[in-house]
C-alpha cells in the first residue's frame, strides 16, 4: 500500500466516524431542545385554556387554537394532577395526513367539572427546522472536509515529488555506466539528506568498482610476464634431447595448464576492457560475411567432430565495433562446437535484427539465469567459464538482447539487435 493511501485510509475512517458521532449527538441535543420548547408551548396553551374557562365559563372550542388541538374528556374525579408530556402521531385534519406530534395530558377541574385535557401540537415544522439546521451546519462541514482532503492529496503529491524523482534517479543509476548518480533539487531537509546519502553511496560504489576493475586489470597484466617466462622455459625444456615419455607427458600437461591460465587471464582482461567501454570505434559490419568467415576459420573443428552446419542467413549489416562483433561470433560458434557431440548439428539463423545459434548437445537444458554468470560451467567443460559471460557483457554494452532457450534437443542462443542505437547511419 502506498504511504499516501495508508495515511488517507486512517484519516477518512477517523473523519467519518467523528462526523457520524457528532452528527448523532447534535441531532439528539437539538431534538431535546425542541421538545422542551414545544412542551413550554403546550403548557402555555394549557394555562390559556384554564384562563379561558375561568373568564368565559365555557370550554374553548377544540379547533379554536392556531397550531394545537385540544381534546376534553369528562371524568369522574381528578385523581392525577401530574402533567404528562409524550410523543405521538396524530391525524392533521388540515393537512389530511398523519404527523408526528407532542402532547400534554393532564386532569384538572374546569368550571368545577373534572376533565382530562389533552393538548396536541404538531412536530412537523419543528422537525423540518431540525433538518434544515443540520443540513446548514453539516453540509459546509462535509464540503470543508472534501476540500481539505483534496488539498491534502495535492500537497502530499507535490511534497513527495522530489522523492519520486530521487527514486527514478536511483533506479537509473547503473554501476557500469559512466553516468554518475544525479542529485535532485529540493528544499526539503529530509530529502536533501537522503539525496546526499545516496550520492555518497553511489560515489563510493563507483570508486570501489573502478578500483576492483583496475585491480583485475593490473593483476592480469602482471601475470602475463611470469606466464611468458613459464612458457619460454617450457619451450626450452621441450628442446632437450634427453626427454623421455614421462617427462613429455608432464610437459604436455604443463602446456595445457599454462595455456588455460593464459586464456583465463586474457578473458578477464577482455571483460574489463568491455566494461570500460574501451572498444568503441563503430563501423558497418556485414554479419553474414563475418559468420561465413568464422565458419571457415573453424571448419577443421567442425569437420573433426563431423558436425552438420545449417545456415539460414539473409544479408544483414550492423553498425558496431569489429572486435566486439568478432568476439561475439567467435564465442557463439566455439560454444556451439565445443558443447556439441560428434555428429551433432549446428543451426545458424540470421534474419533482420535476430541472430540465432542452435546446437545439439549431450547436456540437457541449462539454467538460463546461471549460464551467463562468470565461471559457471559444468565439470566436463575445459573452457574458462568466461565465454558466455563475455558474450553477455558484449550484448549488454551494445544494448542487444541476449536470451537462452532449450527446444527439442537444441540449445538456442538468440541475440536481438533491435535497438535504437544499432541502426546503420
Amino acid at each position: 500500500m502506498k504511504l499516501f493511501s495508508s495515511y488517507n485510509r486512517i484519516l477518512s475512517i477517523i473523519t467519518l466516524t467523528g462526523l457520524l458521532v457528532i452528527g448523532f449527538l447534535f441531532y439528539q441535543t437539538l431534538g431535546q431542545y425542541l421538545n422542551k420548547q414545544i412542551d413550554d408551548h403546550l403548557f402555555e396553551e394549557l394555562l390559556e385554556v384554564e384562563d379561558f374557562t375561568h373568564v368565559k365559563n365555557i370550554l374553548p372550542s377544540p379547533d379554536g387554537f392556531d397550531d394545537v388541538i385540544v381534546e376534553y374528556k369528562k371524568i369522574h374525579q381528578v385523581t392525577n394532577k401530574r402533567r404528562l408530556f409524550a410523543d405521538t402521531n396524530f391525524y392533521n385534519p388540515k393537512k389530511k395526513h398523519t404527523e408526528s406530534a407532542r402532547y400534554l395530558k393532564t386532569e384538572l377541574n374546569l368550571n368545577g367539572q373534572p376533565y382530562q385535557v389533552m393538548i396536541i401540537a404538531s412536530k412537523f415544522e419543528r422537525q423540518e427546522q431540525i433538518k434544515s439546521i443540520i443540513l446548514i451546519i453539516l453540509l459546509p462541514v462535509i464540503i470543508l472536509l472534501l476540500i481539505l482532503w483534496l488539498v491534502n492529496r495535492i500537497l502530499i503529491k507535490r511534497m513527495w515529488l522530489p522523492f519520486r524523482e530521487l527514486l527514478s534517479n536511483i533506479k537509473a543509476f547503473n554501476i557500469n555506466q559512466e553516468k554518475v548518480f544525479e542529485p535532485i533539487q529540493t528544499n526539503i531537509e529530509e530529502f536533501k539528506e537522503l539525496n546526499k546519502a545516496v550520492l555518497d553511496v553511489s560515489l563510493k560504489v563507483k570508486s570501489d568498482y573502478r578500483e576492483i576493475k583496475l585491480f583485475t586489470e593490473n593483476a592480469s597484466h602482471e601475470m602475463m610476464t611470469p606466464l611468458a617466462v613459464i612458457n619460454s622455459k617450457l619451450d626450452t625444456m621441450l628442446q632437450s634431447n634427453t626427454l623421455g615419455k614421462e617427462e613429455s607427458e608432464i610437459l604436455a600437461d604443463l602446456y595445457k595448464a599454462t595455456s588455460k591460465l593464459t586464456k583465463l587471464n586474457q578473458s578477464l582482461l577482455l571483460l574489463v576492457k568491455i566494461d570500460n567501454n574501451q572498444l568503441q570505434d563503430k563501423e558497418k559490419i556485414d554479419l553474414k560475411a563475418l559468420i561465413e568467415e568464422k565458419l571457415n576459420y573453424f571448419q577443421e573443428f567442425i569437420q573433426k567432430r563431423s558436425l552438420q552446419v545449417q545456415t539460414n542467413m539473409s544479408p544483414f549489416s550492423i553498425s558496431a565495433n569489429r572486435s566486439l562483433m568478432e568476439i561475439l561470433i567467435n564465442n557463439l560458434l566455439s560454444n556451439a562446437i565445443r558443447h556439441n557431440y560428434d555428429g551433432g548439428s549446428i543451426q545458424i539463423t540470421l534474419t533482420k535484427d535476430n541472430l540465432i545459434f542452435s546446437n545439439t548437445s549431450a547436456q540437457s537444458a541449462l539454467h538460463p539465469g546461471k549460464i551467463f554468470e562468470r565461471f559457471y560451467k559444468d565439470n566436463t567443460s575445459e573452457g574458462t567459464g568466461l565465454g558466455l559471460a563475455i558474450l553477455k557483457q558484449v550484448c549488454l554494452r551494445q544494448n542487444y538482447k541476449l536470451s537462452y532457450g532449450y527446444e527439442q534437443g537444441y540449445h538456442q542462443f538468440k541475440i536481438n539487435f533491435d535497438g535504437p542505437e544499432n541502426e546503420i547511419r
Partner: protein
C-alpha cells in the same frame, strides 16, 4: 643473424637467448632503457626484440630514437599489454611486428625470421629446405619443382615448422599459431594432429621425405635426420 633482446625480465631474456643462439644466431642483451640505448646506438642488428615496459623508460622511446638516427634494424615489440592503441602506435612508429606476452619461442622465432626476410632479401622470399621450396610471397609450395596445393592454414603450419626446423614445437604453440588465442578451444590440442597428418600426406604424396616427427604427444619436430 644478430639480435638485440631488450627485456627486463632476466629469465625470459635467457630463454629467448638460448633458443635463438642454438640456431647459430648471436644475441646481445639489454635489461634497461639505458643499456638498450647504448647498444643500438653503436651496433647494427638484424632484429631488435623490444619490451615496452622497462624499469627506466618506455620501449617506444627507444623505437623513436632508432628511427631518429636512421637505423633500419627490424623491430619486434614484445608487450604484456594487449591494447590496440599501443599496437597501432608501435607499428606506426616503425616497428615490424607486435607480439603479446605470453608467447611461444617458436612463434617468436617464426616472426623474427619473417621480419628479417622482409627487410633483407628484398623480393627474394623463397625458402628452401632440401627438396621443399616455399615462396612466402606467392604462398606457394613446391616439392622437387612440382607444386603442392596446401590450404592457407596448412601452408602457415608448414612455414611455421620450417622456420623452427630441428626444434620441437608444442601442440599448444601450433594451435595458437593457426587459430590465434581468441578461439577458446583449449580442449582441442589433440586436434592439431589431424592437421599435421594432412600436410604430411600431401607432401609425401608428392615424393617428399617425411620430416615430421612426433614427440610423445607433447609436440612435433620438423627435421632432416
Amino acid at each position: 643473424m644478430k639480435f638485440l633482446i631488450v627485456e627486463d625480465e632476466e629469465s625470459l631474456r635467457k630463454s629467448i637467448d638460448q633458443y635463438l643462439t642454438a640456431e647459430g644466431n648471436i644475441c646481445d642483451h639489454a635489461a634497461t632503457y639505458e643499456q638498450g640505448y647504448q647498444k643500438l646506438s653503436i651496433y647494427d642488428y638484424d632484429c631488435i626484440l623490444l619490451d615496452l615496459t622497462l624499469p627506466d623508460g618506455e620501449g617506444l622511446q627507444l623505437l623513436k630514437y632508432l628511427k631518429k638516427i636512421n637505423k633500419t634494424d627490424g623491430v619486434l615489440i614484445i608487450s604484456a599489454r594487449n591494447s590496440l592503441d599501443q599496437k597501432i602506435e608501435g607499428l606506426s612508429l616503425g616497428a615490424d611486428d607486435y607480439l603479446i606476452k605470453p608467447f611461444h619461442l617458436s612463434e617468436l622465432y617464426a616472426r623474427i625470421q619473417s621480419i628479417v626476410r622482409r627487410r633483407h632479401f628484398n623480393g627474394n622470399t623463397i625458402i628452401h629446405f632440401n627438396e621443399i621450396e616455399i615462396d612466402t610471397a606467392a604462398k606457394e609450395t613446391k616439392v622437387n619443382g612440382k607444386t603442392v596445393y596446401l590450404t592457407r592454414k596448412e601452408f602457415d603450419l608448414l612455414l611455421y615448422f620450417i622456420a623452427n626446423k630441428n626444434k620441437v614445437i608444442s601442440k599448444a604453440a601450433a594451435v595458437e599459431h593457426i587459430w590465434g588465442d581468441d578461439a577458446d578451444m583449449a580442449d582441442s590440442f589433440d586436434f592439431i594432429y589431424t592437421h599435421i597428418k594432412n600436410v604430411r600426406k600431401k607432401l609425401t604424396d608428392s615424393g617428399c621425405k617425411d620430416y615430421f616427427q612426433s614427440v610423445y604427444g607433447v609436440g612435433y619436430k620438423f627435421a632432416d635426420v
